[in-house]
Symmetry: D2
Subunit: 279 residues, 4 copies
């Protein structure tokens, strides 16, 4: 561990002690599903944020069961025990209560935490692809608690989604093309590009251009062409921690909403309305 | 004149005949101030648009007085006589009535058409820089008619203005920088970049980066930096005809508003509200 | 004509008088084929350049025959008579001698000036597409004079062509993609993008991404992706006058080369060799 | 450790065994100075590359002394012992012979390995800033062995350096501006941007534009503006591992050069000459 990390560790230790010993601020308790590459980065963001307490992590495998997630993330504190999905049952949620479950695992995990909705635990899912049957189950949960589902939970992409729809409304005759760039190994068009195309009514085969080179983390560009001017809305990902910050943004917003089904786009539309200039 | 232009001329001649001989659609009559490089391009856009009738053009000099503006624009029709500013008086507006005056001339022209406000003629001014005294005069006119003033009247730039304020509201901790690129000869920061900086509360010296090279028509980029993602809003001008399309957009909108002072930003904010997604 | 243009006209008149009355500098005489949109802009660039004398222009049609090209370009001088292609024969080149023929007309024009090669007149052709038979005829001419043929004669594109081949040599494992953007109406991939792809050994269907929106004049981007870095070489066209400046660049270089077949790429490779840093 | 990492580990273990047990290919032995954030990433690249053997690492502090660098990098093999700089003396280089010393530590480390030059050990230094006195010492070493010094040792940046000088030679009248973007915390202009400006003869205050926002790893853009076209050469860093790949590229090239002083630019100029198209 580098010195930098150690100093950081110390700061986190103070934070951690404050959280555990209780200060007056309300801390939101997070239960986490998924501990793959992205899941770990997102769990890390929640652990580091003073407003949240990472209570536990559930993994599909038995790997690392009953180890502390914080240790695996490189911190010298014992926090957030890892459970295997086999240990999860309605009783689990009673014995290990949380305010929100954040799911970065896989498409079937929601069946494991369906009962959590009965206890009013809110749900944030960032799974990439659900079947209609999966979505139906989420909707059923949304009758009992607040459920937010967004395949791309970053602030920036959702800003692009909402802003591009508005621009299309303002300039309906503009030609629109999407260029998305990702690392060599990424198969197919990015799900985000496909969603942008769908929401703008663009033929995906014709208007989504996919560039696959080297190690590009992720870039999405929406190009609006008018006869005498071009407008470009661009989002560039630097690291997958952006998902963590989006999930934190969503979690804060979720604390104050009634039961129902939501998406990151809802939050951003909400923010658009609040932040639009007044004259 | 190229063959292409001739064919085009013929199409316009048909359009022109239709407009003059009256079809059922309401045609908005435009009086135009200014016939410099940009003014000509904008006047051209109004002449070519089927919803508008370019009635006359006023120039500061005596150059080309009583020639047809359409001839100078390269069309083989006699339309839109050019008058010298000396010929303009309250009587002029009575004898040559229009619905809207569009001003692409210079900072003092508004004194010449102040009396037009008394006849309910609406005003669109795209002058770059007014003094406070100039603005006060415009405001006085706005007590009698609808006045729209926008130093940069393109759709795209005004979209950027409104969208960037919203994004700043959504991500208040984002760092923001502006990069603007223009042709070698352009002095100082672009007025548009300065306006964007002011509206976002950015120090102009620190956060506006001006690139001056070759023949770049005009590019404005607003960069929002977050720890794990970057969002860029970019506007590129292809030709100054973009001002004409913006002015036409404004003129259509102006037909339906009560007396008062407006800006292009008002229109775009209005469009944002109308086009924001509903869930 | 705007005042600006008039002042400019006056400066050109001086230049024109100097050229005609002879100063000591060697003036290269240009004969020009083609007077369409691009041809006119290129002819204009040659007329304005002090090192060249635009002697005559040949058009396919009888339109404007025996008018002065300079008048049609908006200058108040009588220069560069326009001839119909019917008037062109070997005798024509004897009676109206030039140093270089510049061809911006169409794919079959070279048959009209094939005899010019016998008089040692050099040839610059910027025709987009030739058949193999056309190319064979050019090569035959190249046995008697210097012939340069380049479908895209701009400096910038040819710089990209040469530089991208070098970068591919330096980083053979880099993934390469081409993104080209043009105005809505442009059909098919740009010829330039196809040429870049061919020279880099890229499958055109897979690696050339074509964006068609609004009024973009022309943009070509070559993206080199490595695991930890991305390199982009970008060319943006502002106006087709760039072809004129490329043709002038080529014409100057052509004055000093022996008979043979050349391309703009040859010139740029030559310039690379001359300008590479020495250590 | 994730499963992915474990599988990878296994592959490396095979590689490692092959290297240790000797196959016929010549393996270059690397001694490494520096184990900070960047140093670790570069050391990692050398360890993973089949052509190199990471022999030892020297650190300024006593931290981790006599631990295995490979363990600290997360591999389950014992390799590349860490020494404190106090243990380094001429005898050290005799007892722990290497082919090349790679230095990613700090400006004074070269005094520690000056004696290595006497044994013909080659040197690659990627230190950002040296004083003249430091450079003089390096030059003295370069009389006995091959020394390569490059403050920015990535392939891409050095490609930009050489290509931009050539483009300036081809288009001497082009206006040139540099825009560099880095994370919020980076102070001053980037050293790389300053070097590009110097080599192109540009005033740094006027022509280097520094954007500091969020978490941008590093972007350098050189803009060449001509009246009718713009050329952009852009380098984007994805991670600091790019330094490792540059250092590996340099190390391979260094194996075949005589004593003397070199830079990454030398290598790239060399590659330009080898890869320039022939006609």
């Amino acid at each position: 561990m580098t010195e930098q990390r150690l100093t950081y560790n110390y700061g986190l230790f103070i934070l951690y002690t404050m959280k555990k010993n209780g200060n007056n601020q309300k801390i939101t308790k997070i239960g986490f599903f998924g501990f793959g590459n992205t899941g770990r980065m997102v769990a890390d963001e929640f652990f580091k944020d003073g407003l949240f307490d990472l209570e536990w992590v559930v993994r599909k495998t038995h790997k690392d069961t009953h180890k502390y997630a914080t240790r695996l993330l490189g911190y010298e504190v014992d926090d957030a025990l890892i459970y295997s999905v086999d240990e999860v049952s309605p009783v689990f949620f009673q014995n290990h209560p949380v305010d929100i479950i954040v799911d970065f695992s896989s498409a079937k995990a929601h069946y494991q935490y369906a009962s959590a909705a009965d206890f009013g635990i809110k749900i944030i899912s960032a799974i990439s692809k659900y079947t209609q049957k999966d979505l139906d189950n989420l909707k059923k949960m949304a009758e009992k608690t607040a459920v937010l589902y967004s395949p791309n939970i970053t602030l920036g992409i959702n800003f692009l989604l909402v802003a591009s729809q508005i621009l299309q409304g303002i300039a309906p005759h503009a030609d629109i093309e999407i260029v998305e760039e990702h690392f060599r190994g990424k198969k197919e068009e990015s799900g985000t590009a496909v969603k942008i195309a769908e929401i703008l009514g663009l033929n995906i085969d014709k208007h989504v251009n996919s560039v696959r080179v080297g190690g590009i983390v992720g870039k999405h560009e929406i190009i609006f062409g008018l006869p005498n001017q071009t407008i470009r809305l661009i989002h560039e990902s630097i690291s997958r921690s952006a998902f963590g910050q989006g999930a934190i943004f969503a979690a804060k917003w979720m604390m104050n909403v009634p039961i129902g089904m939501y998406s990151m786009e809802n939050i951003i539309v909400d923010m658009f309305k609040k932040n639009i200039s007044v004259y």
